[in-house]
Structure formats: C-alpha cells, structure tokens
Symmetry: C2
Subunit: 456 residues, 2 copies
C-alpha cells in the first residue's frame, strides 16, 4: 500500500528518534534502584499514546509497576484488536561487555543498540507508530486497545489480577503481540507456540559461617560442592532431566509434525560458527530446532558462592546459591513443575546441608491457532510487506502472559514479532534493525487492513 510506505518514509527520522528517547529510560523492572525510571517510562508511553491519537489513556496502578492503557473505539460493531507489549527491560549486566552504554542508544550498521531495543520497546512502539499512521491517514479500519505493562521481565505477577479486574475494558476479538523473532530478514515467520517457564532460586547452607578450608575441609560439607553435585544430578548422561514426573505431561509430536518442524530453514554449521562453539549440547534423540521449541530445558541462569574476588582465598563457605529456570512445553504446568522441582531438590540434599527453594515466577507454554482469521490476516500482511509467505514456527522463549490471556480473557493471540535471534536480547549489545522497525510498522498497518476486510 503506497500511502503506508509514504507515511513511513516521511516520518522515519522522527519514528527512530522517539524510540531512542524511550530507550534512554533505564526501566529495569528487576532492580529496585530503577523503580523511579520504570514509573517514568510508563508516563512517557502514556504521552506518546495521547500524541498518536489514543483516547482514555491512563497509567493504571497495580501492586507493582503500572499498566499503560489507551484505546480508539471508532465503531462498536467493528472488530477490536488488543495490542500487548511491555515497557520494562532486562538488567543490562554484565556491563563491561557492552560496546556502548546500554541506556545511551547508538545507531551502527543500520541497527539501534540499547537495552530494550528489540525486547520490547522497539517492538511495542511499532504498534503506536502504526496506530499514528492509521489515525493521520484516516485509515484505522477497526477498534484498537493498548495494554503496555511494566513487569514482563519479572514475571508479570500483577497482570493477571489486572486482567481479572478489567475484563470489560479489555474486551476484544484478538490480541496482537510483537515480542518474538523471525527466522531471518528474508525468511519471515510467525510464532505459533511458545515455551512456558518455571524460575526458582536455590540456597544451600553448610556450616553456620565461612570456615577455613584447611582446618575444616574434608570433614564439613562444602555447600558449593554439594550444590554442584545436586545440579549435576538433575540431568542424566543423555541430557534428559531426572526430576521424577518432569516429562509426564509433555506432548510428544507425531513423526509428521516433527518432520514439518524440522523443514524450517536451519544451518547447523552456521549456528555453531555464529556462537563460536565446537558442538551443540542437547537432549539425545532430538534436533537443535526441537531442543529450542518442543523440548523442555533446565538451565542455571546464575550461580554464586564463596570468594569470587581477585586472587585466592581458602574459604569453605557457609552458603551457595543458584538461579535455575526450566522452559516448559505443552502441556506442562508451571506451578506443578515448580512444585516437583522443589520437592525433588529438597529430597536430594544430603543431611549435611540445608536447602531452600524460592520460586520466582512462571508461565505456561502455549500453542496459538494458525487457522484463525487473525493468523491469516497477519500471514497476508507479512507476505505483502516481505514478499514471502511467513513460516509458522514454535519459539523457544516464553511470554507467560499469552496463556493467561486465553485463560482469563478467553482470547487467542497473534505473535507477530520482527526481531531476530541474533538481536542479543537479554545480552550485552542488544540491538534492533532499523529495517525491522520500519517494516514492522508497515506490516502492522497492513494487518489491521487485512483483519478488518476479512471480518466483513
């Protein structure tokens, strides 16, 4: 559609500058010292929604960080699209690996580098700009609602209650989300499934204080050694997770489904080269594509204990800690998995230590329909903008809230993300391609057009 392309071309520099302004706010929801920044970021999103033409814009308080809401209802008889996104970002650590400060965005090689560039500021802001485009060109073809939250990176604990309390306000026909990635810029894809998540923190206590490892070593349980042994025992030699009952609810795909899944473009040599690894390392009997989509995982996301400064210290520490997350697949339930993890981890602790398991957050895995009107509208929009029919894929990450949208609001989601796996989200030097940002705005505008027409 020429008017879409024209509007984007004419406003490109401003679109980019507005995103850069948003990226400058260090809205790290995991870190209490950025609390003020997270609230500031919500106000900034509110301001941009109002400028773009939304009505009834408000920063809705929750027990944690607020949800920014806005809407444009043009005709109650037309379908309504609810856009979801999140304005909070991951912590930027480790800071020393960033080539430029994470909250001072820079453009290099046609990419914007900053924490949150792809996850999810760059992606949710495309929707606000596509909305502005439709408002200014008088082409908004259906109703639109925005719900941009500030706690996605810490588990969206307060979004469930918000949904429960605002069912009417959030009434819609479909939810549209850009918080996932495509296979490549020339291989567009739509996400039709996401893994769930169970995230726990464990603490192992040996003696009641740090000890001299010479005086006590060999006789007193070292909580680091014990923690390592406990973690190691969670997988067998085939990288199969050993927690009893862990796989009970996992849906095994048919041979046909697995064949279809493995037909997606993928080059193992390039994958290894890109990560500078000699070999991949996954559960025996499954391919890399399967490891990252249809199989559950158990990863230690952080570990610490004892002396970690310069030089050597011969301490037998009192405590050791780890943050452990499990990615879940249909039909695993995150609460059940957290519970069996906790029970199992406590059961394998030797008598010589004490163990605490603290659940962080979680979410259920989802599979979204690929035969709905909304999916077809999204697929057609991508075909129009990219010139290629998008591949349906199952993503390895988690957007736990998608399962809750279905459970609480009864709504399916369309997961139309424009990032790339190489965008380094959650890592140093996160970035988002300007190509992706602009084609995203274009594709979103096309989606609304298609969706309205297909619903007629």
């Amino acid at each position: 559609m020429q008017y879409i392309k024209d509007y984007i071309r004419q406003n490109k520099d401003r679109f980019i500058q507005e995103l850069i302004d948003l990226l400058k706010i260090p809205s790290v929801s995991a870190d209490p010292k950025h609390s003020k920044d997270v609230f500031n970021c919500a106000e900034q999103v509110k301001k941009r929604l109002i400028e773009s033409g939304a009505d009834n814009v408000e920063v809705c308080p929750t027990k944690g960080y607020p949800v920014v809401y806005g809407e444009k209802i043009i005709d109650k008889n037309l379908p309504t699209v609810l856009v979801y996104g999140h304005y909070d970002v991951q912590p930027p650590d480790p800071l020393d690996l960033w080539n430029s400060p994470p909250f001072e965005p820079v453009i290099k090689n046609e990419k914007i580098y900053a924490r949150g560039a792809a996850d999810d500021k760059g992606q949710f802001y495309m929707h606000i700009k596509a909305f502005e485009l439709m408002m200014r060109t008088n082409t908004l073809p259906c109703n639109i609602k925005f719900m941009i939250e500030g706690e996605e990176e810490v588990g969206s604990d307060n979004l469930g209650p918000f949904l429960e309390a605002n069912k009417e306000k959030l009434n819609a026909d479909v939810i549209l989300i850009s918080d996932t990635s495509m296979i490549a810029n020339d291989v567009p894809s739509l996400t039709v499934g996401l893994r769930g998540l169970s995230y726990v923190e464990v603490e192992v206590t040996g003696p009641n204080r740090d000890l001299h490892s010479g005086v006590y070593g060999g006789a007193v349980a070292n909580p680091i050694n014990i923690l390592c042994e406990m973690i190691a025992s969670l997988k067998d030699e085939n990288n199969h997770i050993t927690i009893p009952g862990f796989y009970d609810d996992v849906v095994e795909l048919s041979a046909e489904e697995r064949k279809a899944l493995n037909s997606a473009p993928f080059n193992l040599d390039e994958y290894k080269k890109h990560l500078d690894i000699e070999d991949v390392h996954g559960e025996k009997g499954y391919t890399t594509i399967e490891h990252t989509s249809i199989r559950p995982t158990l990863d230690v996301n952080g570990i610490w204990g004892g002396y970690i400064g310069e030089g050597a210290k011969t301490v037998l520490p009192s405590k050791a800690y780890a943050k452990i997350s499990m990615r879940l697949v249909p039909n695993q339930n995150h609460e059940k998995i957290t519970e069996i993890f906790q029970k199992h981890f406590e059961s394998i602790a030797p008598k010589s230590v004490k163990v605490k398991v603290k659940p962080h957050h979680g979410g259920n895995p989802i599979v979204t329909p690929s035969d709905s009107v909304a999916y077809k509208a999204a697929s057609k929009a991508m075909e129009q903008s990219f010139g290629k029919v998008p591949v349906p894929v199952r993503g390895g990450g988690s957007v736990p809230i998608v399962a809750q949208f279905k459970e609480i609001l009864g709504l399916d989601s369309v997961l139309m993300g424009f990032g790339l796996d190489s965008d380094a989200i959650h890592s140093p030097n996160e970035h988002y391609g300007i190509f992706n940002y602009l084609i995203g705005i274009e594709t979103i505008a096309l989606f609304f057009k298609n969706y309205a027409e297909m619903n007629k």
Copy 2:
C-alpha cells in the same frame, strides 16, 4: 618464671594497644587496591622490631611484597632461632557478615575482633613482644632472627627466591612459627604436621556471548551446568576424589598411628553443634579427625557465573568460573597434583565448551619431628605456662613455606600456635583471645629459655 609473668602484667595494656594499631592496617595481599597498605604494614613491623631492640632491621624488597628482617646476635656460639610470621591478611569478604568493621579492632568478651587478629598478626606479634621482654629483662638466652613476610595469604611466591638469596643471613638452628591453632585453651597442642595445597582457578566458556535462555536453552551448552557437572564428577559417592593418580603418593598411616591420632580429645556432637550442621560430610572410611589431617581434600572456594543480582534474569551465560583448592598430605607433591588436576579437568570437558585451568599457588605437606630438642623445649614451655603437656597433632591447614624451609634452608620448624579453630580465621569476625595472646608471649619466652638450656 615470675619475671616473665610480671613483665607481661606490667605491659599488658601497651601490648594489646600495639597489636590493635597493627590490625588497623588493611594489609590484604590478595587485593591490588590494598597494595599501599601492605607496604605500610611492613614499615610498621620494622618500626616495632627496632623499638623492641632488634639490630639490622630492614624491609627487604622482593618481586612482590617485602620481607621484614631483624636480628639480635648475642653470641655466635649460642644457638639461633629464626622466627617466621606474616603481616599480610586474608580479604575480609563477605563484609556484611562482620559485626564490626574488619579493620577497626574491638575488644569484646576478652577477645580482639579484626581481620588478621589470629592469622597471623596477633600470633607473630607475640614473638616481637616476647623478644622485647627478654631484651628489657636481660634474659635473651640465644640468638634470634625475624623473617616476617607479606605474601603468605597469596602463596608466598617470592619467599622461596628470598630464602635462596639469603641463606647465610638466615642461617639458624631451628625455625619457630606461631601460625597454627591449639585444640582448646585447656588442651594445649603442638602441630607436628600440616597439609599442603594446590589452588587453581577454572574457566568454562560455552557460547561466545550471553544468550537468551529461551531462544537457545536446550541446544547450547550452559557453562554453569557443565561446570557443575565437571565439579560433581571430581568426587564419587564415597567422597573419594576421582582424579586419576590423585592418591598415588598418599602415605597411609598404620592402624597404630591412626589409633594415636584418634585418641586426641574430640567431641563430634559439640563439633556439629558449633557449626550448626546435622551431619559431617567426609570421605568414607575415615574419622573427622582424619578428614582434617591425614586425608587430602578438594573444595570449591568460590564459584560464579551468569546473573547474580536481584530478581530473575533468563540468561544462558557465556562463562562460568570456580576457584578450587586441594589440601594435600604426605607425600603428595603440589606441582604434580596441580598438573594432574589440569590434565584431568581438561579431559572431562565436553566438546561443546572450552576450558582453561589457571594454577594459583601451592605448597607441599609436611611432617615435623617431635623428638628434636626444639620440640622438647616447646613442649616443656607449654607445660610450664598451661600446666599441661601439649598434645602433638596434625593440622589441616597449610603453611606451604614450612616445606620450603626444609628444602632450601635445611631447617626443621616448630609449629607452636596459640589460636583456636573457632577464631574464625579467613571468615567474618576473626578474633584472637587476649588470654591466648598473653600466654603466647609467656610461652615463647619460656621456649627460648628451655631451648638454650637444653642445648648447653
């Protein structure tokens, strides 16, 4: 001896104040940012040696921190005692567990609390004060030399070359060291053996950058999981170390020797209660006393990797690290053990990660003679001051330099320490009893008297 007791009583407050002044200097050799403090501490030791009556006092430079030397030669025909100690201290981490700042000494319940109080400032300073006592009361019965170094807590790397270069200057009949502990204040003991040490740091690298654990988890090796698995595999279900060749040179004690060793006063229930542990955790087939004296160990002294801040971050990190130390027993050789550890650790790494092993420092285990004149002089001195014959014990810690004294200078050492295992050396709230400090000064003066008389 009444004159000894009198002098100590009259000068007690000053003795304590001088130690407190010394403890205020944060001479942490492991931490480069305390470099200036370590040098300052050497100057302070020099000043105190001069004040106490030593001649030829100098701060001898090495490639690292200096050795403070001083002497009093009264008659070349009399025996010479070389006193060794160290003025550097362990890092004070974790700081938040200290009840008072580590370098602001406080006296509570007749104990001095500060980093280095027992290890080793409080202990080597007893020798300077005993020397002062003998000088002021005109009772120094033999020659004395001091060698107080500043790198014991980081492996004494430069003391070997210092010994080599100063063999003549350091010429003596025996070395006297207070850097070990006794069984209890009413159960004096003398250390007749010490474990050696091999200390290494390992680095495991998975992908070339931190990854999103949802996008890559399950397919790419997580270096933390792998490090845990590798560490866990270093011990079997009997807590026996699995490194091939590790036990090859270990001297097994005879049934008789083990019986004698286990006859030392020890109460397992009190030991567990004191550490607040339900159970000890050692190599199968050996007692707790044996675990901490005649058996080698493998302890992780520190581990870190991934996200260790507040909250949750779903990162699959690029790197994970651990500091690992092994306590060695006769006749293990620390260089050989470091080498076989390195070889073994690299050999068990899966192809999906890269591993680096960096040796820190080490030292050989030792057994000192308990039938020498010097041992008898020490035993008699303790009997005189404590009213009980000291028990000969083998300590679990390491003073790696003791082996080098034998190898380079050809000298045996007497390990007459006055600390307690409960002094929390290398831990928060390190302390040293004033009783121990003062009785140490008394016993050292008695040792010199006995040693001179027994050599007549």
